[in-house]
Symmetry: C2
Subunit: 165 residues, 2 copies
C-alpha cells in the first residue's frame, strides 16, 4: 500500500526535459510560419486592426529568453516588445535561432523543484514558474494561430500544425 | 546527497490537478470566445477559405470528451468532427458546459503514472498520454487564436487572453 502511494507521488506527469522539447517543438513550428510569410507582408500585413506578424514575433522574442533569464537568475527585467531585431525576415530568423540555443542553455539551470515556486515575472506577472512557462508556450501558439489566418488570407499554405521538427 | 537526489526526482513539474485546471481555464476562455461571436457569423464567417469558428469548435468537442474517454477506458473510438450539436450558439454552449463536467469526472480516473504511457488515440495518433493531452490544449489555443482574428475582422472585441475564469 505504501509502495503504491509512493509510485503515484514520484511519477512525473512531465519532466523538465519534456517541457523543453515541447516548447522548442512549438518554436520550430513558429519558425516555419515566419519563413512562410512573404517578406513584405511579414512586416506590414494585418487583419482587423491587429498587429503584423513581425510585431507578434517581437513579443515572443521579448518573452522567451528575457523571461527565462529572469526565472533562472532571479533578477527582474523589463518586458520590452519593441527591441530592434533588424528589418528583414532573415534578421528575425537569425535572432530566433540564437534564442533557440540560449533557451537550451538556460533550461539546464532549471530543475524540477523550481516549477512550483512563485515569482513575479517582469515585475508584473505573479504566478508559479510553471504558469509563467506555460504562458510562454500558450501565448506563442495563440499568436501563431493568428499568423495562420494571415497566411491563408494571403493565399499561402501554412505548415502543418503537428510538424514540430 | 541521497536526500537531494530524492527531492529532485519527486518534485512535480505539474500535477494532474494543475494540468486539469490549466485545460479547463483554456476551455473557459474558448467558451467566452464562442459567446463573443455574433450568432450568424459563428456558423458562417470565415477568412481565407478557412472553416467557420463553429466547425473548429466541433473539432474541439470531437477531441476533448471522446479522447479523454478513450484514454481512461482504453477503448478505441472514432474521431468524428461532424457530430450534430444543434444550430444555435446556445446549443453549442450547453454541450460545452456538459463536457466541462464530463472532463472533470473523467480526469479523476487518470493518475500521474498514466501520463508517460504510450497509446494510439482514435486509432491513428501515436504518443504518450501526456502528448495527447498537450495536443488537446494546444490545438484548442491554436484554433481559438484564429477565432480572435475572425472577431477582430468582425469588429468585435475578443476576451482578454489571460482571462481563464
Amino acid at each position: 500500500m505504501e509502495n503504491t502511494i509512493n509510485e503515484q507521488t514520484t511519477a512525473q506527469v512531465i519532466t523538465p526535459e519534456q517541457f523543453l522539447g515541447h516548447y522548442q517543438g512549438h518554436r520550430n513550428l513558429t519558425r516555419k510560419v515566419i519563413e512562410a510569410f512573404p517578406e513584405k507582408e511579414f512586416f506590414n500585413y494585418s487583419i482587423g486592426g491587429m498587429r503584423p506578424f513581425a510585431a507578434m514575433v517581437k513579443e515572443l522574442l521579448a518573452i522567451a529568453v528575457p523571461g527565462l533569464t529572469e526565472i533562472v537568475s532571479g533578477h527582474t527585467s523589463e518586458l520590452d516588445e519593441n527591441r530592434d531585431y533588424g528589418s528583414t525576415k532573415a534578421d528575425f530568423l537569425k535572432k530566433w535561432d540564437q534564442d533557440t540555443e540560449e533557451i537550451n542553455t538556460l533550461w539546464k539551470q532549471l530543475n524540477a523543484a523550481r516549477f512550483q515556486e512563485n515569482m513575479k515575472l517582469f515585475g508584473q506577472f505573479e504566478g508559479s514558474v510553471l504558469s509563467q512557462l506555460q504562458y510562454f508556450v500558450d501565448n506563442e501558439i495563440h499568436h501563431r494561430g493568428q499568423g495562420y489566418v494571415y497566411l491563408r488570407a494571403l493565399d499561402v499554405e501554412p505548415p502543418f500544425f503537428y510538424d514540430r521538427s
